[in-house]
Amino acid sequence: EDQVTQSPEALRLQEGESSSLNCSYTVSGLRGLFWYRQDPGKGPEFLFTLYSAGEEKEKERLKATLTKKESFLHITAPKPEDSATYLCAVQIVSGGGADGLTFGKGTHLIIQP
């Protein structure tokens, strides 16, 4: 069974304190791994797509990396506005036309001023 596990469930950091969020996956064939940010009461907002091991993507204070078993979302010198729930999702290889995503349960990140 395909599984996506995110850790930690919650993380509280001081402003400027860098850290990493983890997403480990067990899937039969990875087509793509996605990171989203979700603010309370809103829909997920797309951040990154990673396709193959060794790939990295960056956007402002965020950097996503991918290995064959896991992905990391590194947050450098975070600010309070980075507080949100970060979701990891995978799309697997299948024979269908469109494929839904399998999501992890998310990491709730709080950045304190």
Binding site: G32, G41, T49, Q91, G97
Partner: protein
Amino acid sequence: DVKVTQSSRYLVKRTGEKVFLECVQDMDHENMFWYRQDPGLGLRLIYFSYDVKMKEKGDIPEGYSVSREKKERFSLILESASTNQTSMYLCASNLRGDRGSYEQYFGPGTRLTVT
């Protein structure tokens, strides 16, 4: 900018009612999806569609049906609402490509309460 809109932000319905949730996207995307999000369970796929009048079951289709009569519109139908269908419902869409892994864009969500 991609825009996915959902007909209601909040909805309260009674047990046994038929409920329609509407989703519209304005970017000519082939694929559309319905998820529900619950605390401790995360987002789970209910149904998706890769073309007009085409639909596929996701991970939790029981108690739901869908309709896609036009490319830009995808409806989720609760034939007889039950209290265990109280949830946040999220619609998403994306392009279909050979690689099949274009990012999905989400709507703002509909928080449905069934009493």
